[in-house]
């Protein structure tokens, strides 16, 4: 038995049980599509309002849209910070602001990604039919939450930065060398 398993492993690349699990799962997905009715996957009038298109879109949404967006934003931030501090080495702040910018930006971005329909007033007619109200307050609320997040972050940054300065003057804090790359979160 072990010999057979090893031979399958060598040829196929994994334990035979893996193959059984995977083939079973593909069959089950076939059954799910069949019960739903394969016709339902495709909308012949408006192609982009098809379940199939949205499902495949969901596969690549994070990897090809969301990830490149935040990765580029993050790279630009870190590179920009390094460029600035590289040019003015003597005026290098004690505490890197990178995380104090990233955290509120990420939080605000997350809220927008999740609740943009209200913020940009998408689906206004259905919203009105259901609730009897308009989506008017959501944009202002999101902007205010964003402003608060950045304000709190700035406040924490200022306090920590001042505290580190005091420790340094007393000569027992961490040197600016070790903390410049980022803050010790």
């Amino acid at each position: 038995m072990r010999v057979v398993v090893n031979r399958v492993k060598a040829q196929y690349g994994a334990h035979p049980v893996q193959l059984i699990i995977l083939l079973g799962s593909f069959a089950l997905v076939g059954y799910i599509v069949s019960v739903m009715g394969a016709k339902q996957l495709w909308n012949s009038r408006v192609w982009w309002q098809s379940i199939l298109v949205w499902f495949l879109g969901a596969v690549v949404l994070h990897d090809l849209v969301i990830f490149p967006f935040y990765a580029i934003a993050n790279r630009s931030l870190v590179a920009g910070w390094q460029a600035v501090t590289g040019r003015l080495p003597d005026r290098k702040p004690r505490l890197s602001p990178v995380n104090y910018l990233r955290v509120p930006a990420l939080a605000s971005g997350l809220l927008f990604a999740m609740f943009f329909p209200g913020i940009i007033r998408q689906g206004a007619a259905a919203y009105r039919r259901a609730t009897g109200l308009t989506q008017a307050p959501f944009l202002d609320r999101w902007l205010l939450i964003t402003a608060t997040l950045f304000a709190v972050s700035a406040l924490v940054y200022a306090i920590r930065s001042a505290w580190m300065g005091r420790q340094e003057r007393r000569g027992r804090g961490p040197s600016s060398e070790t903390v410049a790359a980022g803050e010790p979160l």
Binding site: P117, G132, A181
Partner: protein
């Protein structure tokens, strides 16, 4: 990171799945009113949805939606942590590897599809165009399939990886002391990692903070009371005022095209199906024995609101119509333009002592938007089955 996030999702996602599948049963598949109608073997064992505890549907649906929302940051972080996998070259080392990567389409596509459709639906943004219930239900089964496969193939890796580091030590390690992970056989670790800008505990705190933020900004929709004021970005954090009828509306009378003249003194409720079919006016109903109950309306979108309802017990109406123990009751509304202009109630939902044809709420007449002249309110059923602007009740043997 991957294994810690994976562990969190392994515990929490089954709860989201289970509550979702339970809510399908709450819609009453045995009465052919669960959507989608035909699901083959793809469902939990059917049972009669109970009416107690009265907050049962509020709990299952609220948990499904709020937990689903709270897990969005965790899922995004998990996808971020396995990002290097996308660009491995060659794309498959063996047939086994190719098949496994193919199976990832189910779990990644499934979870993102469920989150996107769910998020749009709770915000009344129907831009996707297809039927939400159908897509969300079958999409969930594709996800469940992928989830089970992924867990069964990756569980040993997760356990090994969780054991390789002590959580207690990581929680004491600052950014300055953070060292890159040693290279792993799965290729998740960067070959030339840059200088760390955040510690592992910092990254976990970031994800946890994101979840906490979402929880604070959404849970008030379900909990109600003062917490509702914190639900700033979702539809059901809004206030309608402080009057007795100032609570969440799910379908306005205008949207339902209710003719106000049809709700005037000429309105009659017809009771059919029993030995003595009859029609009753509103004053007649008000003259019958009135019962008051504090009950939540809980919606499939995850929000709920608890109010004090007064009206006639449905079981009294059943007895009056000459069918004291019906197998079901078919309620029709004057609203004939929507899918939920009618609903069937199970026997236990008609006979529950708190199941009402409500005429008043919080001591005053129902407003037109809340279903005047009369609406159904039954403990623990989906809000859309609490039919408004009731026109007739047919008791069925």
């Amino acid at each position: 990171m991957t294994s810690v996030l994976g562990f969190l999702l392994l515990i929490s996602l089954p709860l989201v799945i289970l509550t979702g599948l339970l809510d399908y049963i709450a819609y009453g598949p045995k009465l052919h009113q669960a959507i989608p109608g035909h699901v083959g073997f793809l469902h939990l064992p059917y049972f009669d949805w109970p009416t107690r505890p009265v907050w049962l549907f509020q709990l299952t649906e609220g948990l499904h939606v709020v937990l689903g929302l709270v897990l969005v940051p965790v899922v995004l972080a998990k996808l971020w942590s396995v990002m290097p996998k996308l660009f491995t070259w060659p794309p498959a080392r063996s047939v086994a590897n190719l098949l496994e990567r193919l199976s990832l389409l189910m779990i990644v596509g499934g979870i993102v599809f469920e989150m996107v459709t769910g998020l749009l639906n709770i915000q009344y943004d129907y831009i996707f165009g297809f039927n939400f219930y159908t897509a969300h239900y079958f999409g969930a089964w594709v996800f469940i399939t992928g989830f089970v496969v992924h867990v069964s193939l990756k569980l040993p890796t997760m356990v090994r990886s969780l054991r390789s580091r002590s959580l207690r030590v990581e929680l004491r390690t600052s950014r300055a002391d953070t060292k890159p992970e040693p290279l792993d056989p799965d290729g998740l670790v960067a070959l030339e990692p840059s200088e760390p800008t955040i510690s592992r505990r910092g990254a976990l705190a970031l994800v946890g903070g994101g979840s906490l933020l979402v929880a604070v900004l959404t849970a008030g929709q379900t909990i109600g009371g003062v917490a509702r004021n914190a639900a700033l970005l979702v539809p059901r954090g809004r206030s309608y005022g402080s009057g007795p009828n100032d609570f969440q509306i799910n379908r306005t009378a205008v949207a339902a095209r209710i003719d106000p003249s049809a709700t005037s003194a000429a309105w009659r409720l017809s009771l059919d199906g029993g030995t003595t079919p009859m029609t009753l006016s509103r004053p007649t109903l008000l003259a019958m024995e009135q019962h008051t109950a504090e009950l939540p309306i809980a919606c499939v979108e995850g929000w709920s609101t608890t109010q004090r309802w007064t009206g006639v017990r449905l079981r009294d109406l059943a007895r009056l119509a000459g069918m004291p123990v019906p197998a079901s009751a078919h309620v029709r509304s004057m609203d004939t333009s929507g899918v939920f202009g009618q609903a069937r109630l199970q026997s236990n939902q008609v006979l529950d002592p708190d199941a009402l044809l409500a005429l008043k709420v919080n001591g005053v007449d129902l407003s037109l938007d809340h279903g005047f002249p009369a609406r159904i309110i039954v403990p623990a059923i989906p809000g859309v089955h609490c039919t408004k602007w009731v026109e007739s009740i047919q008791f069925e043997a």
